[in-house]
Structures are given as structure tokens and as C-alpha cells.
């Protein structure tokens, strides 16, 4: 199978900018405008966060955006409704990211089918264990041409990284350091030994680095060690600035990308 994620990595194997935002934040109907604006500003891949009341792996910024989104009545059915016609407007690879419980309540099978119909390319469900995925869901993901994206961390043993690589078919999300999302300590991106260790494994799937990437400097550093990097919390903070959505997105994305040109 080839979906838009695999095509993207084939065409542009390095310097990829992936951006995460929480659906329903800052306003319920901002989902599609944010996607289109990100694409216009040259972002390569978009992760759409599905808000959850108890986001275990997330720091304060994404927690807070999730709470606002839930108060705005964002739900999975609502998100699917907003994205219904998204493929008429853009071909940018889209990944849905969220926690397992809301997906389970919607029904995993129905969820995969619906996501696939809309033209979603991949999923990140951090609390779906590898073993459960392989046993119960892998066939369904493949049937619906959806990439399931796994996380690895500096603590993940080599054998497990190889197993994750074997069951992945899009990219591997390399968590930069032991932390929840939104950390801004510099150690989060200078974990060179870990990145080089992963590189040396010669994995089938490309890697993108996330967690703690928050400005052009950290983005550039991450790109030196992997196919690209993911920015989440820093982008959500940018959305909260005064000014229009367009302005905020453009200012932030250009501040990240200019370094590459320079």
C-alpha cells in the first residue's frame, strides 16, 4: 500500500516539518482553516489531536488546549463531520492523534473505516500497546490503508525498536527525551547519542523527532538526526496569541522555516 505519508517520505526524505494541533482549539470550527493555513505556509504533515479529558502523555499546554476543545464540544463525530470534504481542498498527509478510550467508545473498527473514507493517512494512539495492535487491529489498519505510528524513547531497548519498526508502515515517532509533551529544556534535542544509535539500526521506516521541539534552533538540530521534526505545544501557544489565525500561523511557521533557508 502507499498512502500520502509514504509518498511524502519518498519525495522529501529530510527536513520535514510536521505540526500538531488540538482539534477544537482555540475555537470549535478552526480545524479546517488551521489545516489549510498550515499547508499554505509549507508544512509537510499535520497531526490533528483528538482531545481527551485525561491526556497522560501531555504537558500543561496540550492539556489546557484539550480542555478548551472539550468545553467547545469537540467530539470524534464532530471532527469527522468537519473533515468530511477535506480531500477536496488539500492533499497534505493527515494523521489523527489521540488516546484509546474515546476511539474505543466510538468503536475502533468504525473509526478506522470512517477515517479512511475521509482520507486520513495515519493514526497515533500512544496508549494502544504494540501487542494489542498486532493481535487485534493490525489487519484492520492495513485493510483501511492507515499507517499506525508508534513512539520510541531513549529508553526503548533495541530489540523493541526493531519489533516496532517491523510493525510500522509510515514513520516512527522518536520522542526526544524522557518527558511529556511541551518540555523546553535544551537537553530534549541534543540527545545525539540516542538519535545516532537509532540511525545506526538501519530501520525500514523513517523517523521524525518530537517532544520539546519549539523553535527554529531545536527544529534544525532535530532535522540533522532524522527525517524531520514535530512541533506541538509551541504551535498551540502561538495560536493563543492575539491576532488572526492566519497571522499567528504564518508568523510561527515562518519563524521555524527561515532558519533552513539561512
Amino acid at each position: 500500500m502507499t498512502n500520502r505519508i509514504q509518498q511524502l517520505f519518498a519525495q522529501k526524505p529530510e527536513g520535514l516539518l510536521s505540526v500538531y494541533f488540538t482539534a477544537g482549539y482555540p475555537n470549535l470550527e478552526d480545524t479546517v482553516p488551521i489545516i489549510l493555513e498550515l499547508e499554505k505556509n509549507g508544512v509537510d504533515l499535520i497531526e490533528i489531536g483528538m482531545p481527551f479529558s485525561d491526556p497522560l502523555a501531555d504537558g500543561p499546554t496540550i492539556q489546557q488546549s484539550s480542555q478548551v476543545a472539550l468545553r467547545n464540544w469537540m467530539t470524534i463525530p464532530k471532527l469527522f463531520e468537519q473533515l468530511q470534504d477535506i480531500r477536496r481542498h488539500t492533499q497534505i498527509p493527515l494523521v489523527l492523534m489521540g488516546y484509546l478510550n474515546p476511539v474505543m467508545q466510538y468503536s475502533v473498527e468504525r473509526f478506522l473505516q470512517k477515517a479512511s473514507e475521509i482520507g486520513i493517512d495515519g493514526l497515533i494512539l500512544p496508549d494502544l500497546p504494540l501487542s494489542d495492535y498486532v493481535r487485534e487491529y493490525k489487519e484492520l489498519f492495513e485493510k483501511h490503508q492507515l499507517s499506525n505510528i508508534f513512539l520510541i524513547t531513549p529508553q526503548t531497548p533495541e530489540q523493541r525498536i526493531r519489533e516496532i519498526d517491523r510493525h510500522s508502515n509510515g514513520f516512527i515517532y522518536m520522542v526526544s527525551s524522557a518527558s511529556v509533551t511541551g518540555g523546553t529544556t535544551e537537553r530534549s534535542v541534543v540527545n545525539t547519542a540516542y538519535f545516532e544509535r537509532v540511525k545506526a539500526l538501519g530501520l525500514r521506516n523513517p523517523g521524525i523527532i518530537g517532544f520539546g521541539i519549539h523553535n527554529r534552533d531545536t527544529f534544525t538540530q532535530a532535522c540533522n538526526h532524522a527525517s524531520g521534526a514535530i512541533i506541538g505545544s509551541a504551535f498551540i501557544k502561538a495560536l493563543a496569541q492575539e491576532g488572526s489565525l492566519q497571522q499567528n500561523i504564518s508568523t510561527f511557521i515562518q519563524s521555524i522555516k527561515q532558519e533552513q533557508i539561512a
Binding site: D54, L56, N101, Q105, P129, T153, T156
Partner: protein, 396 residues
């Protein structure tokens, strides 16, 4: 039917370890080591000495004569309220801190709701000279000031959980996030039979001392180690897991789990997970969970801070689904009446949590020749301000 955890960490269809990859190495390290360490003779010896000389075990099994007369059956109270720190919680924290030490951990974190588990953790950290950080919901910090003071006096750092609903579930989220941020030197002492495998099984094993003692004590007092009923309150369910543990595979012993109905099952202010919950995932475990149609976790309510957890341990979800345990729910008002009843009939002031178990006695239909054991999980000192406020003794 098998009620113990299986090799994959499941109780029937409940349990497992639904954790993000960041937590996988921590949980895996524990999974690979907990049974091995717990079986080591020097671990067992250190544990047994502490349980006896420090915690005060075995706790008595007390025949409650006047309570028995009132209900026309034979009621025994398993006196977990007499443990050091005032509840069963310390059975688990003593066990886990010995485990943490053997794993070479130097920093201990815990979550707490009412503060009982926080106090029990701060206590064993003082004993073992280990750094202790307790996460507690901002709302609970205000409601449970005496326990916050006790933890601080014991040298623990109490960190307010300011996210979400700012209560127990959020304190648990914060503790888990801390563990993600500190994967190498930190050990997380979970206070109940909840969380990812192996926690539910490990905590149940440390609490199993309750039913182990109960069997020997019943044999001596009644001539049989099996009672007709074992009754315990359930929030996450650790005292119930301990009281049920050695009777799980003895079907003639009826197990009664008592949940908090709050203001009433249908009031919207309740914590009766077995009635109001649906299968879902919370804190790394597949279990029954109070949630919205969209899968967002809802905030439970009970007058008892130790019972207002939106989930329930996966063992209990399995006992409920399989019919092995009978589930009852008791309102705030019924629990308060049971507090006063035990106080006046037996001279024992129980914790609000334990009062839920006491309040279920009248529902059992126990016969005059039958034996009922109530697990009196904690004492009422911590609830005194609630009692004074509700009972208004000055006016009587």
C-alpha cells in the same frame, strides 16, 4: 472460572497495560521483577518483621456482639483501622517501598485522594529515608488539610494537581507524568489495585495479608476458616482485594463489594462505577469506567474522598462481570448512619469509606447462624470534621 490475573496481566477481559511507550520500560521492569523479589526470603523476612512490629499486624478480628444482636447474625470486624497510620493502606506502601529499594530507586512518587495513601507513603519514605513527592488534587488539598499537614510533617513534598477536575484522577495523571519525566531513579507507589499491570496484582498481593489472617482467626473463633460473607467497600478496591483474595476460589464464601452511591445512583452525583460505568481505559487499565458517551472520563462524587474514583480495579470489574462478587451501593446518608451506629454500639468510630461496608449489613439477608466479616478498612479520625458538621452534636 479463574479470578487471579493471567500471564498477560488480564482478569478476564479487564486489566492489561495501556501505557504510552514512555512508560513501557518502567512498567516492564516492574513486571519482570515483582514476583521474583516478593518471593525472596530476605524480602519476606524484612516485610514480615515490619508488618508485625511497625504496622501492628496481625490486626484483630473482633466479634461485634451488639452489632450482631441488632442484625441477628454473627458479625466480625477485621480491624484494619488499628494499623499504623489508621488504615489498610500501609500494608501496600510497606511492601512497595521494600521493592523500590531492591530495584535501586531513590525517589518515590505517589498519588492521593483523601490523603490516606499519601500519609502511608510519606510514612514509609521517612522510615526508609527516601525522597517522597505526593500528588494531590488542589480541591482535595483544601478538603483534607490534616492529612496534608501530616505528609509535610513526615518530610514529603505535596504537589497540587491543578489539571482537569483537580481531584484523585488528576493527581494520578500528574504522578504518571512525573514518572514519564523521571524514568530511571523514580518509583511510583500506586495506592490501589488500579493502573497498568502489574500494579493491580502486586497491590492485591500486598493487601492479601488481610484475608490470610482472617482465615486463621476465623478458624480459631468459629471452627471454620470460611465465613458466609466478606464485605468491603470499593473505590479503586485495594482493601476489598485484600479481604477477598484468599476466598476468590472458594465459591461458598459470598464476596460483597460496596460502592459509594453518593447522593443516589441516578442523582448525577455518584461513584457507583459498577452501575454507572462502561468498559473503558483509565490510568493504563481496561476496566469499568464512568465516562460520557464520547469516552471522556467523568468526575464521580461521594462524601468519602477515598471512594470517589471514576474507575474500579480490573479484578473487581471481572468479579462484577462474572458474578463472583455481589455489588451494592450505599448513599452518603446511609454511610453516615452506619458511622453513628458503629460508634454507639461498639465504641468504634469508622472511616467514611468503611462505613459504606457497614451500611450494607442490613442488605445481606444473613441468617442467625451465618458469619459475616466486615473489613473495617480505616478509622474515622480523618473524617471528624465531616462528622461534627453533619451530626451537629451541640444541638442534641
Amino acid at each position: 472460572m479463574k479470578y487471579q490475573v493471567d500471564d498477560n496481566g488480564f482478569y478476564g477481559r479487564f486489566g492489561g497495560a495501556y501505557v504510552p511507550e514512555m512508560l513501557y520500560p518502567n512498567v516492564e521492569e516492574l513486571r519482570q521483577n515483582y514476583l521474583k523479589i516478593m518471593a525472596e526470603p530476605d524480602f519476606q523476612e524484612e516485610l514480615q518483621v515490619l508488618l508485625r512490629d511497625y504496622v501492628g499486624r496481625p490486626t484483630p478480628l473482633y466479634f461485634a456482639k451488639r452489632l450482631s444482636e441488632k442484625y441477628k447474625t454473627n458479625i466480625y470486624l477485621k480491624r484494619e483501622d488499628l494499623n499504623h497510620t489508621g488504615a489498610h493502606k500501609i500494608n501496600n506502601t510497606i511492601g512497595q517501598i521494600l521493592l523500590a529499594k531492591r530495584l535501586g530507586k531513590t525517589r518515590i512518587i505517589a498519588e492521593t485522594g483523601a490523603g490516606q495513601h499519601g500519609v502511608a507513603t510519606a510514612t514509609v519514605c521517612a522510615l526508609m529515608n527516601l525522597e517522597c513527592i505526593v500528588y494531590m488534587g488542589e480541591v482535595d488539598i483544601q478538603r483534607q488539610a490534616p492529612n496534608v499537614a501530616r505528609m509535610k510533617m513526615l518530610g514529603a513534598t505535596v504537589v497540587p494537581a491543578t489539571s482537569g477536575s483537580r481531584t484523585l484522577k488528576d493527581a494520578t495523571n500528574e504522578a504518571i507524568r512525573d514518572w514519564i519525566n523521571n524514568p530511571e531513579d523514580t518509583y511510583y507507589i500506586i495506592g490501589s489495585v488500579v493502573g497498568p499491570h502489574p500494579y493491580p496484582d502486586m497491590v492485591a498481593r500486598f493487601q492479601a495479608v488481610i484475608s490470610e489472617e482472617m482465615k486463621a482467626q476465623l478458624q480459631e473463633k468459629t471452627g471454620s476458616e470460611n465465613p458466609d460473607y466478606v464485605v468491603a467497600c470499593v473505590g479503586g478496591g485495594s482493601n476489598a482485594a485484600g479481604a477477598f483474595y484468599h476466598y476468590l476460589d472458594t465459591p461458598e464464601v459470598k464476596l460483597v463489594a460496596v460502592e459509594a452511591a453518593g447522593l443516589g445512583i441516578d442523582s448525577g452525583e455518584s461513584a457507583a462505577t459498577s452501575v454507572l460505568g462502561k468498559e473503558g481505559i483509565i490510568h493504563g487499565s481496561r476496566t469499568l469506567l464512568m465516562q460520557t458517551e464520547d469516552g471522556q472520563v467523568t468526575e464521580p462524587y461521594s462524601i468519602s474522598a477515598g471512594l470517589d474514583y471514576p474507575g474500579v480495579g480490573p479484578l473487581h470489574a471481572h468479579l462484577h462481570q462474572s458474578g463472583r462478587a455481589i455489588f451494592e451501593s450505599i448513599t452518603d446518608e446511609e454511610a453516615l448512619q452506619a458511622v453513628l451506629e458503629l460508634t454507639r454500639l461498639e465504641g468504634i468510630i469508622p472511616a467514611l469509606e468503611s462505613a459504606h461496608a457497614l451500611a450494607a449489613i442490613g442488605r445481606l439477608g444473613a441468617k442467625p447462624d451465618e458469619v459475616v466479616v466486615i473489613n473495617l478498612s480505616g478509622r474515622g479520625d480523618k473524617d471528624l470534621s465531616t462528622y461534627l458538621d453533619r451530626f451537629k452534636f451541640d444541638d442534641k
